[in-house]
C-alpha cells in the first residue's frame, strides 16, 4: 500500500493543489505554516519576529516553487522537512555572510582617533554658553563658524558669500574652534 492514504491528509491536500485546487492549497499552507514557524523558532531562537517571518515566507515560496517534485505516493512530511531544513541552512549561511561583512559601530566611542576631535559633550550641553562664546568671537571667525558649521555651507559657497578665499576661511574656522574650546573649558572649570 502506498503512503498516500487518508492517514496523510497533508499529502492529499498537496495532490489536490497540484491539480489546481486553490482551496485545498490555502488549507494546506495554513496548516503547515505554524509548524514551519515552530521549527524556525526552535532552530533560530535568536531571530526576531520579522526575521522569523522572512524565513517562514522563504520556505512557503520554495514549497510553492517545487510543488511539482512532490510524489503523491510518498509521505508529505519528509518532503516538507527537507525543504525547511534546506532553506534554514541557506538562511544561516546568508546570516553568517552578512555578519562577517558588517562592522559594529555602536561600540565606537570616538569619531576620530585624535583627542582634539573628541570634544567633551557635557561641555557643550549648555547651549547658551556656546551661543555666547560664538558671539564673542572676532567678526571673521564668527562668520566662518556660522556659515560653515551652523549653516553647513561648502567652503566655496561661504567664500563666495564673504568675498574671502577658501584658505582664509579654513584658517578662520580653525582659530574659531580653538578659541571656542578654550572659552568653554574655562567656563567649565
Amino acid at each position: 500500500m502506498s503512503d498516500f492514504t487518508p492517514r496523510d491528509p497533508l499529502g492529499q491536500l498537496l495532490r489536490a493543489a497540484q491539480q489546481g485546487d486553490a482551496a485545498a492549497y490555502t488549507e494546506l499552507l495554513r496548516l503547515v505554516t505554524p509548524r514551519i514557524r515552530q521549527i524556525v523558532r526552535r532552530q533560530r531562537g535568536f531571530a526576531g519576529r520579522a526575521e522569523t517571518e522572512d524565513l517562514v515566507q522563504d520556505v512557503l515560496l520554495s514549497l510553492h516553487a517545487v510543488r511539482a517534485t512532490y510524489d503523491p505516493a510518498r509521505p508529505f512530511v519528509p518532503w516538507l522537512l527537507a525543504i525547511v531544513r534546506n532553506r534554514l541552512a541557506d538562511g544561516a549561511r546568508r546570516y553568517g555572510r552578512a555578519a562577517r561583512r558588517e562592522v559594529r559601530v555602536d561600540e565606537n566611542d570616538v569619531t576620530f582617533p585624535e583627542p582634539e576631535a573628541n570634544l567633551d559633550v557635557e561641555a557643550l550641553a549648555d547651549a547658551a554658553a556656546l551661543r555666547d562664546a560664538v558671539r564673542a568671537l572676532p567678526e571673521g571667525q564668527r562668520q566662518a563658524i556660522e556659515l560653515l558649521k551652523l549653516e553647513e555651507l561648502s567652503l566655496k559657497e561661504a567664500a563666495a558669500m564673504t568675498g574671502t578665499s577658501t584658505g582664509a576661511l579654513k584658517v578662520a574656522t580653525h582659530r574659531a574652534l580653538a578659541t571656542l574650546r578654550r572659552t568653554l573649558r574655562v567656563k567649565q572649570s
Binding site: T26, T33, Q57, L60, L61, S62, H64, A65, V66, P78
Partner: protein
Amino acid sequence: MNTDELIERLAKELQPVRPLPRPGIRATVWLLGAAAYVGALAVAMTAGRLPAGIGDVRMWLPLVAAFLATLLAARGAFASVVPGHAANAVGTLVLAALVWLGALVATSEWQLPAAAIASARHEWVCVAVIVGGGVPLMVLLAAMLRRGAPLKPGRTAALAAMTVGTLANVGACWSLPHASNEITLVWHGGTVLALVLVAAVAGRLVFTWRTAVRRNVPPPS
C-alpha cells in the same frame, strides 16, 4: 507583505502542475535521448563499423562499466533534486566512479611506462570529444534537473557531470578505440574527474532557489 497575505496570493495564482516522474523514470528518459545522440555521433565517426577488438573483455568491460556508471549517476542526479529522497548523492558519485574506474584498473595490463601514458598527446582528441560532445547532453540534463529542487547544487552538478562524462567517454572509446586501458584510465578518468570538480564548484550558480522561485512564482501584481 505578511505571511497570511502571501498564502492568499500563492493560492490565488495557483496553476495546476504535473508531478515530476520518479527519478529512475526521468533518468531513463534522459538516457534514451542521450544514448541516441551519442550513438549517432559514434556512427558518424566510425562510418557504422564496429570498433576493432570489441569482443575482447578489455574493450567491452570498461564500456559496460562506464554505461553502468552513467545509469547510477543519472539516477542519483535526478534523486538529488527531490526533497525527502533518501538517496546518498556522495555515495552514489563514489560508487559510479568506482564501477567505471575499477573496470579500467582491472583490465589494464600496466606495461606502459608512466611517461608514455602522460605524453599520449593524441588523447587530447578524446578529451575534446568528451568535453565538446558532452555539452549538449549537459545542457539537456541541467534543464531537466532545474525542474527539481536545488537542495544540494554542488552534488547535483557533480553527479550530472559524472553522468555526462562517463557516457561521452563511451562514445569516445567506441569511436577511437585505445590499445591500452591505462591511457583511458588516466586521460579519460582525469577529464571526467576534472569535469566533476568544476561542476561541483559551479553547481551553485546553476541550481539556485532564487531561479526556482522566480520561474514558478509570479511577481506581485
